[in-house]
């Protein structure tokens, strides 16, 4: 205690928590520090990174501020693996989880640190951009801006580019009122508040990233012409993913099962239905779930899968 100042400082009061790794800091604090750390790792390694979503969207007023569970960064695809290795050297590791099929393919890797309350999502691509990953990243990088986050300079996409990312994120979730409101907010900014150069930037990033068709409703709302820049097969994948993404991976498993040769279908079906204790997602790789926990996870998964397939059947696909 600093006598006379009538209170305590945390390391005195809860020093064991700090030393023991159970630091008590909030998600907001953790996310800001994580963005600063990611920028620093990028600078140290010479790997280009851009912080996205979360604090970036909040500061650009692209959405109503809310506490994110993770810090998102998009990384130069050419050096993505190298960046992930560098992040690991800072104590961040992957959650234990098996690879599951994804309609649009994997787009990010989630890292955790046992003494931090948040995750870091390192993106190699952002869903909704259908151009080559490197082309998308280079376009975002070309017009990047800088924000001070946790008193550190952090590279971020321009406001127009961040609006594209915010809109792509919002349109991915077809049943979420919050995401519908966030899309509405981006539309309002584009029509009422954005300077002409921000609006031009928005349109160009969507054009180069081949995201015009995905954002067609937004383009219509703001009265901008757009091109259909995604082929029919990918349109179908996007629509199916959009209709089922909130239900987990069941539809992705079904899609994989359909495309698998007959002699391999039993193996795929087995993997879709059964998950071993060792494969159950968890933060601590050294702690195997108990038998009871494993069954609870499987039953929850089957229930979610059944709901997802019901949604899928109703959607007529």
């Amino acid at each position: 205690m600093i006598r006379g100042m009538r209170d305590r400082y945390r390391h005195d009061e809860e020093g064991d928590a700090v030393e023991g790794g159970r630091t008590r800091f909030s998600l907001t604090e953790a996310n800001e520090l994580a963005h600063a750390l990611l920028a620093r790792i990028g600078r140290d390694t010479g790997i280009r990174t851009l912080s996205i979503k979360g604090v970036v969207a909040d500061r650009y007023r692209l959405r109503r501020p809310r506490v994110a569970a993770d810090a998102d960064v998009i990384v130069d695809p050419a050096r993505f693996d190298e960046f992930c290795a560098a992040l690991s050297e800072h104590g961040w590791h992957l959650r234990v989880e098996r690879e599951v099929p994804s309609l649009l393919g994997p787009h990010s890797v989630t890292f955790i640190r046992d003494d931090w309350p948040n995750d870091i999502d390192a993106h190699v691509r952002f869903p909704g951009f259908f151009a080559d990953d490197q082309i998308v990243f280079d376009r975002l990088w070309r017009t990047r801006a800088e924000m001070r986050v946790a008193h550190v300079a952090v590279a971020v996409p321009s406001r127009g580019a961040s609006a594209v990312i915010a809109a792509l994120h919002a349109v991915r979730y077809s049943r979420s009122a919050r995401h519908a409101a966030e899309l509405q907010q981006v539309a309002r900014l584009l029509t009422d508040e954005f300077a002409e150069q921000d609006r031009v930037e928005f349109v160009d990033v969507a054009r180069v990233g081949r995201a015009q068709w995905v954002l067609r409703e937004l383009f219509e709302r703001i009265g901008e012409p757009y091109e259909v820049d995604v082929d029919a097969q990918r349109q179908k994948l996007w629509n199916t993913n959009r209709a089922t993404v909130e239900d987990g991976a069941a539809v992705s498993w079904l899609t994989q099962l359909r495309s698998t040769p007959w002699h391999r279908k039993p193996a795929v079906l087995g993997r879709a239905l059964w998950i071993s204790r060792a494969d159950i997602p968890r933060n601590d790789p050294n702690r195997l779930p108990t038998v009871r926990e494993a069954w609870a996870h499987r039953i929850l998964r089957w229930k979610r899968g059944a709901i997802a397939l019901r949604h899928y059947a109703r959607s007529g696909r």
Binding site: M5, Y9, L33, E89, A150, H151
Partner: protein
């Protein structure tokens, strides 16, 4: 100040920190695997004073804090020195 003469205190270059009025969370970015360090209340006030006025001599920091909290410097010297030592050891402060 005792033991360090009149060292100049400042926030280290490699530090990321976030704060509100009552709380600061700081981290040394130069040390891989460093853990964020939480300062609350008077410790946060010390940090805020350094952030606002630094770099500044430790004696001046002490005077400013004493004035701000309406206490004698002797009352807080030991605890402030202890905090500064801790923050230097964690590479959050230089000087």
């Amino acid at each position: 100040m005792t033991g360090r003469g009149c060292a100049v205190v400042d926030i280290a270059e490699d530090v990321a920190w976030t704060s509100n009025e009552r709380r600061v969370v700081a981290m040394d970015l130069g040390s891989p695997g460093a853990t964020p360090y939480v300062l609350e209340a008077s410790a946060a006030a010390v940090w805020h004073e350094i952030a606002a006025a630094g770099p500044l001599p430790a004696d001046e920091l002490l005077s400013r804090l004493a004035e701000g909290f309406a206490v004698e410097t002797a009352q807080i010297r030991g605890d402030v020195e202890s905090l500064l030592t801790e923050l230097r050891a964690r590479r959050l402060l230089r000087g």
